[in-house]
Structure formats: structure tokens, C-alpha cells
Point group: C2
């Protein structure tokens, strides 16, 4: 039986302006976690959220995480945890979001003041944090308020976890989630995160997979200090020459990873999975538009999406220690460190990837016959994540999307990582759903970040509808 | 007939302390040409020189070069030109030096105040500019003074050209020299520059050759802006991958230049030239000490010196536009520019080197089959220089070294460039001699720069003795 949602939806429409007002207040707090001098604003934003949640009748706690490691003059902003409802006959859903934002300055090229929500005649609501992630976070609050004012029973118990350091490494969050898995979060039946984006601008999606990332440094050193190329060029084996030759043998122009063993670790493509890609709302023009060029590797969308979602990739990011400024300098750098990373997918084991990379890099270097020294190490690895899209958490969300937006959502994966996803899955052992509110053109992390009014208001309906379908979805599905 | 030099030498010894006092005054003026706020100190140093020269009876002019191009708020320091003597029966020697210095701050690791000349018990006189180039410049003044006080006739007419921008690109100097070639400098019969160093610490040298330098940028671009490797890795041809693959094909670990045609341009090694290298006072341990490592390409000094002096080399300096900071960043840079340079030697024509480089780089890139764009260009080229060591200017200097130091000097070339050398040769069409005063351990451009008291005092004797031998050396030699 489909849930009765009309009264709720109508109330969301009635409250739309006040919901936008709530977002305006949130955007006005420049809660930039990366900037020391704005750390108090992050904490102020946490207090704002806490007050809003309390006003809605939630029980709220601001959990302190202490000082920032290595930067002890700074307090970490608290994790705001909250509970709305504790009816043991209802399912309990844990939702996550973050209340900090990326840096933003008018001088970077913003068309409007970044910390003043500015709505244009197309309903685009510009402002830092509008889509990442204040809009989605407030969507949950809006959903509670609309239920209350419409007199509709809230269908689940809602646990909320809103952090203030996401844009600066989520310092302390993993430990917090692990510690609370059996405590504050112990009732959670499933997790929902609204902190990513539609693949395009028209069709909603549910996201069930993310690639992981193994990040590497490879250092070549020899001379005791930087040398002048006039004096020493031609007489010394140059670390930069060796490093560039090693880096050139990691990946080719068409993205093929040259490290033996890596491609063999990838889960084979089944016919079932292959069939999924054709229907995804994505075109090569979407790719070219986001690239700003036509320098894609594959000519078709299927191969492109597979390359983004289900195959590994290797990118060379840069070199530390070499000359990197504009102009010319005739230095022979004494020690240079190349940076590269491999995006990982099922069934790549991070440790085995490391092993293959270390062996190959050392082998390639050995063949150069250099007297310089090479070291290669892993800076960090974040595992890939894939959830079952057949879980009730996903089928409920799919039905809610169809109800609100009138289309079946695309089931997508993403090329990047959202580390907290895996943390929740591993700590709570529950299904995690990524349910985006914003669209691909929202420019999170860029200038002129925005959230469309439609995505915010229909998105608020979607979050509420999702909870209703969650309440009805049979466990077996 | 050997010149009568005893009275002059004795007078130099007598005046040694006052010569050191003169150097102390000069070092105390922090004439750092690279620092805006110290530009007035450079000008003050010019005035100091002018006053000292006038006190010695020279006719002196401070020639203004106007404002610094692109930085019009700064005056260029004047070129101090001076003449001592104008006897048409004497030869006229033009000497060059610079009165500006490299930056220096105690915090960089200086053991003493950089702008206070500090003499230790081994006679090492520490201070910025002591050896580069205030000591040698004052050496000429000391020589004049000692002649006067010893009552010895000055053997030549001396033209002096002392600039104040050498450490910051010699802005305006080339044009000045070209313009004065037929005017202030028109009487010059030969040029002597004391602004380089012995190859080691015990044996003086005369330098007759310098390598040139062709500097290149190779830019690969594709996407309209930097991309996130999670989202785009595997779907786009990455400029950094292409650039690294191109750079890896320019030179190998043992310094072999892989650009076709370059090595063929090098003047063949004759048996005569080959025979010269064995006697040079240089050991592989000298190389290893200056490298701070044993990562040299060649096992013997002959090949090492040839590689430094008479063969070209190619060094990769770095990449602009890629990630170059410490830590990890998962960026796909949209546009990256590799920097490399080729040290050139006889008979490489800069234009032909450019042609070979441009063709090869484009060919290599074409073979990658990339949709990205590549541009390669020459940033600047400075020609190599080789003088005839059989010219009377050199034979006179050789005799003077033997007289003062008791050994025949090594005839050396240098791997780096001293652009003013070529400017004097090309503008005046006269033989140019590089006659160093300091030794290889003087740390010019580094912390704890010094000039040994012995090199300063005996070096002053040498400059004077050189002028006496010049006066007697037959033209035919
Ligand atoms: Zn976010
Ligand atoms: Zn110098």
C-alpha cells in the first residue's frame, strides 16, 4: 500500500519560503573548516543546527572531539547528534551530513557574495554550502517540521549525525562513529547520506558504489643538495630524469595502467551489469561539458561510465621538490617526489595493490641502472565501497524518487570516494544509501555554488517520502 | 725580460690590512640587487666605489641605466666606469666586475653576520660578496694603490666597468656595452673578468670557455580546468601523463641526450685537446665532495671534465601547473609545462638546436596518439664561448700566475655561463680572459660565503702582475 503523502507534500510547498529562509540563515554563517580564523564560525554553525533541532523537539547532543591534532590551538567543531522519535515499533534510520563548507571569497570570481544566499529568476540559489551540504542537512529538519505542521505521523525514528570537519578531512569522525556504533547509533537499521549529486540535471539517482583511492609517493634522491645544471649537467645522474622515466611507465595516454597485476584484480563485468549502463541518463556531451574539452578516452557513454565507476585508473598528480614556478631556473633538484594515485574498485585489495605497485616501481627503477636511491610508499588508502541496490533501503528510496519526481532513478556509482560511507558500513554493519539532493551543475567546491530551489523543495519531499517507504518496505526485499 | 715586481709585491703585503679594511667597508654595504628595499644600498655601494676610485686619481663616471623595466618604481643602479691612465704607448685593458651581491640573511644558516666581514684564524674572510665579486673588484683598486705607494709605474691604461645588477640579470648592461664599444671602451686591447673560481683550492686557473644554455618549455593542455581524479580518472587523457612521457624521452639516466642531431653538432675531440685533461688539478673526490654523493656518471676525471666543459647536457628542471606541494592532492592538472635546458658547446648553433628539439618533441608527442595539445618553445638561449688560450692576454696571465703562485695555471672551461663574457667579446671583438681570484670552496651564492686572505692578497698581486706581463707580451703570440 502506497504511503499517504499528499498532506506532507502540500505542507512542504506551504513552508517553502520558510525553508529557504532557514537555508539563508545557514549560508550566512561562513563555517569554513579549512580556515583557522573561521573555526569559531564552524562552531557557531553547529550551535545554530543544535538550536534548530531542539526547536523541532529533537533530543540533541553536541559531542566535542577535543583539539585538532598537530594544531592544538584549534578546537575541533562538535559532532551534532540528534534523535527524533524512539518508537521501538518503527525502523530507525541514521542520516549523515556536514555543516562545514569549502572556503569561498568574492575575489575568486563569485558573481554574488558567497555567504549571502542569492536566488535568481531561474530559482538558482547561489551561496557557499547551499548544495554541499547545508541544503541536504536542512532537508531533514524541513521534513520533520512539515510532518509536524501537517499533523502527519513521522514514519521512522530518525538518528542524525552532522559533522563540522568534512571539508578538512573529517578529523576524529571515524573514531567517533566506531565508538558510538553500539551506543548512540545502536538502533540504526540503515544509513542514508545526502552529500553527493545527480549524474546530470534532470534525472535523480541512487548511488550504491564508490571507488577507493590508494595514494603513492615515489622519491628519487642522490646529490646532497640542489645542483647548478651548468656546473654539474652531464656529470651527475639526475634524480628528476630517473623519476620522470619511472612515472612515464605507470600509465599510458589512454589510461591503461601498466603496473602488472592491477587489471587482473578487477571483478569481471557480467552481462547483467553491462546491460545497466545503456539506460543511464548521461551523454558524451555531458562529459565534454564538464571536461571543457573533447579529450575523453572513450567514444561512448557506456565505456566512459564503466571507466569512471567500475574500472581502476591511475593519475599522475605532480612532483614535489622540482622547479614548479613560472619562469626559468637552471636547477638540478637533489630530491624529487612524484605523486600518483590509483582509484580502486572491486575486488582490488589495497594491500595487494600496494605490493604490485612497490614491486613494479622498484623493478622499473632497477632497469634504469641508476646510482640514485628510490623509495616508494603508500600515503593513504581508502577502500572502494559497493552496497546492494536490492536492499530495502534502496528499493524504498527508488519508490520515493518515482513518487516525487515521476521517474525511476538511475542506479549510479561514483568515481570518487566519500570515506564516511565506508566508515558507517564497517562500523554499523548496515546498508548505506547515498541519496543526493543536488544536480551535476551545482558546482560544489567551486565558485558560484548553488542549489536549485526545485531540488531543495522536491528534495525535502523526497527525504520525507523515503522515510515513509522505508517504514513500509518488507525486510525480505 | 721579466717585469720588475718585487717593490709592488712588497707594497701589497705592507698594505694588506688596509686592503682588508677596504673589503670590510664594501661587505658592510648590503648591496643586494634582488631585493627592492635594498636597491638604495646597491646605489650606495656604487657611490662608495666611485669615491674610492676618485681618491686613487681615476676619472670616474656613474652611468645611469634608468628605471627597471616592468618595475618602474625602481632605479637601476649605475654602471661605474673608470679610467686610470691614458698613455697611447701603453696597452689598454678593460676589466669587469660587479658590486651587487646575492641575498643573505643570518636565519639562512650563516655562522656569522653576513654583512660583517669576519676573519677566522685560518684567514677565511666570511661575508656576503667577499669573493663574489667585491674582493676581485677591490683587487684592481688595491693594485693601483700599491703601484702608487711603491712608486712603480702603472704598466697599462686601465678601463674599468663595474655593474650593480649582475646577480639579478644584468638588466641594461648588454645595451650599455654595445653602445660604449666604440666610445668609452674603444681603446681596449683585451678584456679581463675576475668573477669565477679555481677548480679546486690549491691551483690557480685561467678560464677560456663556457657552455651556453638553451632553455625550453613544453606545455601539454586539454581539459578546460583542473579535474578531480576520482570523477574523471580513467575517462580523460591526462596532460600530465603525456608530458611525463615526452620528458622521459629527452635524456637517459647516464645523461645521453636522446634528441636526434644534437650530439652530431658537437666539435670533435682532438688528440691535442684530449691530452690537456690529464694534467688538470681535479679528482673524482672533488666531484663527490661537491655533489655530496657518489652519483656521478663517469668513473674518471677526464670524462667528467669533458662532460662538464666540452659536451652538451640536458637537465629536466621541473613542471609548472602540476601539484608540487608536500602532502597529497588528487588533482588532474589541466595544463602542465615541463622545463628543461640544454647546455651547449662548440659548434652547436642555438637555432639549429631549437629546430632539432622542436621537431623531436612534436614527433614523440604525435606517437602518443593523444587528443591533448602540445606546445614547445625556447625561453632563452645564451651562446657558448671559447677564447683562444694562445692569445697574449692568456699567455701574460699564465706567466703572472707562475710568478705569484709558483705553478703553471690550469687552463679550464666552465659548464655554466657568464653571459657578459660573450657580450664583451661580441661587442668589442677583443680577446676576453677569465682570471679568477677565489677558490672552489668560497661558497659564492651560498651561506658562509668567504674569500681566503691568501687569495685576496696574492690575488691582488696577481692582477697587478698580469698587467705588467700584458705590457711586455709580444702581440704575435
Ligand atoms: Zn559535501
Ligand atoms: Zn659574480
Amino acid at each position: 500500500m502506497a504511503p499517504q503523502l499528499d498532506a506532507y507534500f502540500k505542507q512542504v510547498d506551504t513552508l517553502a519560503e520558510s525553508f529557504i529562509e532557514r537555508l539563508r540563515k545557514a549560508v550566512a554563517i561562513p563555517s569554513v573548516s579549512a580556515e583557522d580564523e573561521r573555526r569559531p564560525e564552524v562552531i557557531r554553525m553547529g550551535k545554530f543546527l543544535q538550536a534548530e533541532l531542539e526547536a523541532l523537539g529533537c533530543s540533541v547532543e553536541a559531542r566535542e572531539l577535543g583539539k585538532e591534532p598537530q594544531r592544538e590551538h584549534l578546537d575541533l567543531p562538535p559532532v551534532i547528534v540528534a534523535r527524533y522519535g524512539s518508537d521501538s515499533k518503527k525502523r530507525t534510520i541514521l542520516v549523515y551530513g556536514h555543516y562545514d563548507v569549502q572556503p569561498a571569497n568574492l575575489e575568486d570570481g563569485w558573481a554574488t557574495q558567497p555567504f549571502e544566499l542569492t536566488v535568481d529568476d531561474k530559482g538558482r540559489m547561489f551561496g557557499r554550502g547551499s548544495t554541499d551540504d547545508k541544503g541536504p542537512v536542512l532537508g531533514w529538519l524541513n521534513a520533520i517540521e512539515a510532518h509536524q505542521k501537517a499533523g502527519v505521523d513521522f514514519p521512522v525514528n530518525l538518528l542524525m549525525c552532522f559533522e563540522g570537519m568534512e571539508e578538512y578531512g573529517s578529523e576524529g569522525l571515524d573514531d567517533f562513529i566506531a565508538a558510538e556504533a553500539d551506543k548512540y547509533f545502536k538502533d540504526a537499521d540503515a544509513v542514508c547520506i545526502s552529500d553527493n549529486y545527480w549524474l546530470g540535471t534532470e534525472k535523480p539517482c541512487l548511488t550504491y558504489g564508490l571507488r577507493g583511492c590508494n595514494y603513492y609517493s615515489v622519491e628519487v634522491s642522490g646529490p646532497g643538495q640542489d645542483l647548478h645544471s651548468g656546473v654539474f649537467g652531464g656529470t651527475v645522474q639526475e634524480p628528476m630524469t630517473d623519476l620522470v622515466r619511472v612515472m612515464a611507465q605507470l600509465v599510458d595516454t589512454d589510461g591503461k595502467i601498466l603496473v602488472p597485476g592491477i587489471n587482473e584484480m578487477v571483478a569481471p563485468l557480467t552481462d547483467d551489469e553491462k546491460a545497466l549502463y545503456g539506460d543511464i541518463a548521461f551523454t558524451m556531451d555531458n562529459l565534454y561539458e564538464s571536461l571543457g574539452s573533447k579529450t575523453g578516452i572513450f567514444p561512448d557513454k557506456e565505456k566512459t561510465l564503466m571507466a569512471r565507476w567500475r574500472y581502476p585508473s591511475l593519475s599522475l598528480h605532480g612532483i614535489e621538490g622540482a622547479f614548479s614556478a613560472p619562469g626559468g631556473k637552471t636547477v638540478i633538484p637533489a630530491k624529487v617526489t612524484g605523486k600518483f594515485s590509483i582509484r580502486t574498485v572491486p575486488n582490488m585489495e589495497p594491500a595487494k595493490v600496494n605490493e604490485a605497485v612497490f614491486k613494479y616501481v622498484n623493478d622499473v627503477f632497477k632497469k634504469l641502472g641508476s646510482k640514485n636511491s628510490l623509495k616508494v610508499w603508500n600515503n593513504h588508502d581508502g577502500r572502494w565501497w559497493v552496497a546492494s541496490p536490492n536492499h530495502w533501503n534502496f528499493t524504498a528510496a527508488g519508490k520515493a524518487v518515482e513518487r516525487v519526481w515521476g521517474v525511476k532513478p538511475d542506479l549510479t556509482r561514483e568515481g570518487g570516494s566519500i570515506p564516511v560511507t565506508l566508515t558507517f558500513e564497517e562500523s554499523l554493519k548496515k546498508n548505506v544509501l547515498l541519496l543526493p539532493m543536488g544536480s551535476s551543475t551545482d558546482a560544489a567546491h567551486s565558485i558560484n555554488e548553488k542549489l536549485d530551489r526545485r531540488n531543495y523543495i522536491e528534495g525535502t519531499k523526497l527525504l520525507g517520502a523515503y522515510l515513509h517507504y522505508v517504514a513500509e518496505e518488507p525486510t525480505g526485499a
